[in-house]
């Protein structure tokens, strides 16, 4: 059998290490560095893209169902509202907070907050209806201090300030995007069902009948490139192209 021996570091090196350890111990006794956040009296500063409770703005929703389609946990159900439009509801019993819904939302109708502390009495209550998603939920703030973790290449620093952080993001800055518009790539295969025209929220698609021929057109100036018609087209002949 082979005996494992500790490598001898030599007296100088050993002394250095011990001194460093004593140094840390002394520093801790004077100014203790605790990583624990004393929630709820203190609150950790969350990044602006924190994946928290989701808010919804019906005025911005274009009824594309993208959020419901993309949700990997099947937490989103679309429900008919009195205005005959379908809006999302979220079951927080299922939601895994991936925020794919928010990422997929074309018109930023869904947005994140830094709220992570909502309590429910039972599973049913976790099904959050559209109307409950418009305003943030009621939460009791007991925190007086804001804790920030500052990580540099050497060490973790903890900064505590007497501050109450806002849990809401500022208006989401519009992403810099390449403008696109909808185009018909195979007009001869169009069945003339007008589905595209019905779903287009900006009235960019028009049709008229004259002499037994229906004329369809997409007005590229009005088209916002939302892609709703592309998704709904019965024959899948519409496509988004760069403007």
């Amino acid at each position: 059998m082979k005996k494992v021996t500790v490598q001898d570091q030599g007296l100088v090196e050993k002394t250095k290490c011990h001194a460093a350890a004593i140094g840390v111990a002394m520093k801790e006794s004077v100014y203790p560095l605790t990583a624990t956040v004393q929630y709820p009296r203190q609150r950790k500063k969350m990044p602006d893209n924190f994946r928290g409770y989701i808010l919804f703005d019906p005025d911005k929703c274009i009824n594309c169902w993208e959020c419901a389609f993309i949700c990997p946990a099947n937490a989103i159900r679309m429900k008919e509202a009195p205005n005959k439009k379908y809006y999302p509801t979220i079951d927080y019993g299922k939601c895994i907070f991936c925020h794919f819904c928010i990422d997929s939302c074309t018109d930023s109708a869904l947005r994140t907050t830094k709220i992570h502390d909502v309590a429910y009495k039972d599973m049913d209550e976790m099904v959050t209806l559209t109307e409950e998603m418009i305003e943030p939920p009621e939460i009791v703030r007991e925190d007086t201090k804001l804790v920030e973790y500052l990580i540099d290449d050497k060490d973790l620093q903890i900064k505590k300030t007497r501050e109450v952080d806002s849990l809401f993001m500022d208006e989401v800055p519009p992403s810099v995007e390449i403008p696109v518009v909808s185009q018909c790539i195979d007009g001869a295969s169009c069945i003339g069902c007008h589905v595209c025209e019905y779903v287009c929220g900006s009235g960019a698609i028009s049709s008229s009948i004259a002499n037994g021929v229906m004329n369809m057109a997409i007005d590229t100036d009005n088209c916002t490139g939302c892609g709703l018609c592309v998704k709904e087209c019965t024959m899948q002949i519409l496509k988004l192209v760069r403007k």
Binding site: S189, C190, D219
Partner: protein, 356 residues
């Protein structure tokens, strides 16, 4: 990204200027002027009982044409029909000029696949799978079935899927081939192969005639010889009454004027003529036995038992058969068109039913 790359991207974006998108659609004729197109279809085809239940209309209808009971229908069409006219444009029986006879034929052969088991010589399966191997298509639509012998459509994308033995073989009940074809056209990269009775083949051709998307994507159309097909509710009831136990049923066949239901432990046999009482009205006016519009048509009459008869029509079918020969995937023999004479004539006579 490097500055140079960003510049290049910007150039591309600038180059792609978009013209206004404008297109035209021909508006189909409406015999009943102030009615919806669906009402036209209903009064011309469905209510006159000449509808073949091919479901070409349902394949294109964005509203909701479907099968209710045994009939093609559109629940709530008053509010849901978009009045686009696609259904009457594609319905092979809206302006019905029955096809009949043998159709053009470049070769009339018999074949038996060495790789697959099927109804007869499994040449339908062989044609589709070989086309897939050749890269002509990336999926073939098969009418499979569940344990109750209800048809279920299946996209075959790999020959290994044929391990599901219920995919080949004849089901004497209608299958929803065309609505599935619409989906297949949406998903395919290379092309789709489709199999069907003559009415389904006519539906495919009509879709191709009207809409380029089907011309581009549907690459192979295999027809089946067909005297008639049946509604599931009617035939399943009939067979149960005859003592057929569906849980043991392995094959149904019509040969020499007899319907034969083969079960694991017994067999039920009776004259096909007896089925006349449940003959669908659409089949009663159908004159096409050999699927004259198909790229190739396959049936059992015209060759010895165990072989499929193939009427080869289009170049694409010739090409696939050459490939099958070259690979030695099948045995070939002579087909005898003379044997089809009786059934072809029998179906031609059905044109008289149309006048009634």
């Amino acid at each position: 990204m490097h500055d140079a790359d960003i510049k290049a991207c910007e150039e591309v974006i600038k180059m792609a200027t978009v013209a206004e998108s404008k297109w035209e659609i021909k508006v189909p004729d409406k015999p009943l002027k102030d009615k919806l197109y669906f009402e036209n279809l209903k009064s011309v085809v469905i209510d006159t009982e000449i509808c073949s239940r091919c479901l070409t209309c349902a394949a294109v209808c964005p509203g909701g044409i479907t099968v209710v009971g045994d009939k093609v229908d559109f629940p709530d069409y008053e509010t849901k029909c978009l009045d686009c006219g696609a259904c009457v444009r594609v319905c092979p029986r809206f302006v019905y000029e029955p096809l009949s006879g043998m159709g053009s034929s470049t070769a009339f052969i018999a074949g038996r696949s060495n790789r697959f088991a099927g109804q007869d010589g499994a040449m339908v399966t062989e044609l589709i799978v070989s086309a897939m191997e050749m890269g002509i298509i990336d999926r073939g639509l098969f009418a499979g079935r569940n344990e109750n012998w209800e048809t279920e459509m299946f996209h075959v994308r790999d020959p290994e899927q044929l391990a599901i033995t219920t995919l080949s073989g004849t089901k004497y009940t209608f299958a929803d081939v065309l609505p599935e074809l619409k989906k297949a056209v949406k998903f395919t990269q290379n092309g789709v192969g489709v199999v069907g009775t003559p009415c389904i083949v006519s539906g495919v051709r009509k879709l191709q005639q009207e809409y380029p998307i089907f011309r581009e994507k549907v690459k192979l159309v295999v027809g089946l010889f067909c005297t008639e097909n049946f509604h599931y509710s009617a035939i399943s009831q009939y067979l149960r009454d005859k003592g057929v136990d569906f849980s043991k049923l392995v094959k149904t066949d019509i040969t020499m004027g007899k319907f034969i239901a083969t079960m694991t432990d017994s067999e039920v046999k009776f004259k096909v003529k007896a089925l006349e009482e449940i003959l669908p009205s659409g089949c009663n006016v159908c004159c096409d036995f050999t699927a004259v519009e198909a790229d190739a048509s396959v049936g059992s009459v015209g060759s010895v038992p165990g072989f499929s008869t193939i009427s080869v029509r289009e170049a694409i079918a010739v090409k696939i058969l050459d490939y099958i020969k070259e690979k030695g995937y099948a045995e070939f023999g002579e087909g005898d068109p003379g044997q089809l004479g009786f059934l072809v004539g029998h179906k031609k006579k059905r044109a008289e039913n149309l006048k009634k």
